[in-house]
Symmetry: C2
Subunit: 329 residues, 2 copies
């Protein structure tokens, strides 16, 4: 027993030391002191304080994050669009007609302006030609293979290296305080799931996104799901609270976005009764990332800014609130 | 330090005692020794054994359970149908025309035969009249209020007391071994979510089911989701693997069902590469529950039985494998 006791005393000392260290440690080292960081910490303290009127029981600690522009860079082009354009080029040899068929012709000629001029219809054609027709397992592998080599046009880094370091810390900080973290993105659910666990610590079952329909099939005795060229759900704007309810079945208490597509899920969170937090990332750092928030041409946060003021939603300035943007190389 | 050391030695002794007790404890006390119980234990031992070729990493330990007839009694009538019929009676004063309008007339007259003769169309009308038109929050409360008093026609017990004790133990045993437990039911997702956490330990975000569409709305500044009389998804048969993929994004490694509606999700699990387990509950205990499996009239497991034999899926005989059926009163 004496040896066991010694071991335990040692373990106890380690535990005390660790807990002291934890209390003194900054869980958000990439965040500058300021209103944004203070709002996060105050929210977590209130939500986890049993004595508070606004205490949030652990099972209700649901935090949702938009992905594009909130967790990773999505400029000058959504990463999934870059993927789709690359896929068109990859698949072109098997589709000789594409050389004379829009929007594929423009994609193959690198004429992005013509592609974009085709609007939603052109994009949908590109998505269906590149995202459907294979099994879910095959698509997952195609995404992983592409992400392993595709690089951002400005920084030359892998897209998965262009995630925001302060948001990685925020995800971990929330989880350490009993929150379940979800992604709620307008992007494709199956485009995100293969890598979100490794990159963000968010498992596939906590990813919500837009989707196409799938069909169950037996092929040579093995069961597969085949991806069909038919929209199933668009997880954007008023679709975000709908998607949240479908997948989670609870009202989130913390919501993070960066664009007008996130307004409704911030509103959904804002109607909660206990502690709740709504934040919007501002792309205002032309030097270290981009400055396009509020730009009426490429800006994706227009209606959201006056609403944020009216509702007291907390803004996150990439320029002022973040010490670093991306993880160290 | 001496006092702290004493406390820690005591804690250590408690831990050792607890772990010894755990090793000697039967995690499935309501299961008789036999092939079913052995299959469960062998599967969990293989899946959690790092030295095994069929080891399943913790994040891939997804177990899915059908609900009606697998986790709780669903005879002589699906509980949700009993709920819908009661709701028709409750709402009738506000719908005087129902007195002369089928299928409502038959419901109000207690003429279940005529209701059922109306087939899927009649059921859909009843579902939409009773499940749509209110907010998701309001519907959740309606379900809870009904379940608090509605009773099974044969036993007189609350429906939530007619859950299968051996399956409660199985859910807990899997979770204790690092599995995430999900419900995958043909029943309504919003009909289950309000109570599955309390009764099964399965939180709303781990419940998959059939659904109607919802619409986001701001009402007096508060955000709500309104339930629309329009089918969104039918989580049955080939829909089950589709629903599993939509919500979880991984292939389950353990699947439990009881009817032909569960076959495709058993097949989906059966194609996995590591350890996997497929089980079907047989309703063969007329004395303690019901004996209707294989009955071609009310039986819901017909195609499944020969398939189980062919594929080596493990059957669970309520009569032989379960010591007790329902929790003690």
């Amino acid at each position: 027993m004496r040896n066991a006791a010694r071991v335990v005393v040692f373990l106890f000392a380690v535990m005390v030391a660790a807990s002291t260290a934890a209390a003194g440690t900054d869980a958000l080292p990439s965040w500058n002191d300021g209103a944004a960081k203070s709002a996060i910490i105050a929210f977590v303290q209130t939500a986890t304080d049993k004595a508070s009127m606004k205490f949030v029981p652990p099972e209700q600690r649901i935090a949702v994050f938009d992905n594009d522009g909130t967790l990773w860079a999505s400029h000058p082009m959504y990463v999934q669009l870059a993927f789709a354009l690359d896929r068109v080029k990859e698949l072109a040899p098997a589709h000789p007609a594409w050389k004379n068929e829009q929007p594929f012709k423009a994609v193959l000629e690198g004429d992005l302006e013509t592609v974009m001029a085709g609007g939603e219809h052109a994009l949908l054609e590109i998505i269906m030609a590149t995202h459907a027709g294979m099994t879910t397992d095959a698509f997952s592998q195609i995404v992983l293979d592409w992400l392993a080599t595709a690089r951002h046009p400005k920084t030359g880094r892998l897209y998965t290296e262009m995630v925001y370091q302060p948001m990685l810390e925020l995800l971990a900080y929330l989880r350490a305080n009993g929150f379940k973290t979800f992604i709620v993105s307008g992007g494709g659910i199956e485009f995100m799931r293969p890598w979100t666990e490794r990159i963000y610590g968010v498992p596939p079952e906590q990813v919500i996104g837009s989707s196409i329909k799938t069909k169950f099939e037996l092929r040579d005795g093995a069961s597969v799901l085949v991806r069909l060229p038919e929209i199933n759900f668009i997880d954007d704007k008023a679709g975000k609270p709908v998607g949240i309810n479908q997948h989670i079945g609870r009202r989130p208490v913390a919501t993070f976005g960066n664009s007008d597509g996130d307004i409704e899920m911030l509103q959904y969170t804002d109607s909660g009764k206990g502690a709740h937090l709504e934040m919007l990332v501002l792309h205002d750092d032309a030097r270290r990332e981009y400055a396009y928030t509020g730009d009426t041409k490429v800006g994706r946060l227009c209606k959201g800014l006056p609403l944020a003021k009216e509702r007291g939603w907390q803004l996150i300035s990439m320029k002022n609130d973040w010490k670093t943007i991306f993880p160290e190389e």
